[in-house]
Amino acid sequence: MKIIIKPQGTLAIYEQIVNQLKNGILSGELETGEALPSIRKLAADLQVSVITTKRAYEELEKEGLIRSQAGKGFYVCEYNTDYLKEKQFMMLETHLSEVIEECKAAGLSKEDILEMVETLMENN
């Protein structure tokens, strides 16, 4: 895949790298297990600072899309789709818990809440 750095007022260079690599991974253009260029090589090729490419890889690593192997470099994660789903579930659970707490605070019973959910889902 191609990474392109464009003069864009709002996005820092590392954000542009993160976005493009993320798209490449989610679209499958970068395959699981594929090796990424080293931090220094990518910096030299894009003519940007090392701290920029390092930050980009760190962001992707935090999101579980790539992993670093000591002394070897960075690879696209094998289980990234599962991981992303799991992450999404966790986020939804958090949202739901908040809603449930609010419902309880408003004095709704478990039955009331379930009924509300059922009605809403039917309407959708």
């Binding site: 895949m1 191609k2 990474i3 392109i4 750095i5 464009k6 003069p7 864009q8 007022g9 820092a12 260079i13 590392y14 542009q16 990424l36 260029p37 220094r40 990518l42 910096a43 030299a44 090729d45 894009l46 003519q47 940007v48 600072s49 090392v50 701290i51 920029t52 930050r55």
Partner: protein
């Protein structure tokens, strides 16, 4: 690693105060500030320590003031004001100075001059400003310097020189050297620097990571 801890230095009426940061091998630090901010005084505190300087400067964990000869062996100070013998060629100058450096060899110097694109047979007097900077860079590379201190190396240089210059720096950095360079050109900072130390009236305003904004297109196939 270079560690500067609460460095203070007086130079006449000028006072450099509370400089405090650290940088690991392989990174480029830009020192930004207007004339009179303390950029050159900062370099002098490393290259020519004197009584009355306060704070600590550690290079690879060692106090540079107690191990100054060793520190100078690792360090290349590159400035336009460097005094050389004008009638000597680059090669003759390197041979003369190389004696003082453990790792220097003529072969390495010749290869480095080729890399920076300056003839080894040109005299110091015949060099342009840019050639003088590149010659000093080549000499530093030839003697395997690990710390490069550069005082305004890109001042007055055109974009083509800058691009080549940063390509060379990236090679040096990839080999594990540390580079500190002063500049007042914002576009030098944007894309190239890993950290920026901002000085104002002798004080450290900030030291921070630099996540630059793009000014020009670039692309790579991975």
């Amino acid at each position: 690693m270079l560690e500067i801890k609460d460095l203070q230095r007086k130079a006449g009426k000028f006072q450099l105060e509370h400089i405090d940061f650290q940088v690991e091998e392989g990174y480029l630090v830009g020192i930004l500030g207007p004339n009179g901010a303390g950029k050159t005084t900062f370099f002098k505190a490393l290259m020519e320590p004197k009584k009355g300087d306060k704070g600590t400067i550690l290079w690879m964990g060692k106090d540079i003031r107690k191990n100054h000869v060793e520190f100078l062996g690792d360090t290349a100070y590159i400035t336009e004001d460097m005094m050389f013998i004008e009638k000597l060629t680059a090669m003759e100058t390197a041979q003369m100075l190389g004696v003082f450096y453990e790792h220097y060899t003529d072969e390495a110097f010749e290869a480095c001059m080729e890399k920076v694109g300056v003839s080894k047979n040109i005299t110091i007097a015949g060099m342009s400003r840019g050639q003088k900077i590149r010659f000093q860079l080549a000499f530093g590379m030839a003697r395997k310097a690990k710390l490069y201190l550069m005082d305004e190396p890109t001042a007055g240089m055109d974009p083509a020189f800058r691009k080549e210059f940063y390509d060379l720096l990236r090679e040096i950095l990839a080999e594990g050297a540390t580079v500190l360079m002063s500049t007042h050109v914002q576009s030098d900072i944007n894309r190239n620097m890993d950290y920026v130390l901002t000085l104002k009236e002798g004080k450290q305003l900030r030291f921070q990571e630099n996540f630059g904004e793009a000014e020009e297109w670039s692309e790579v196939e991975i």
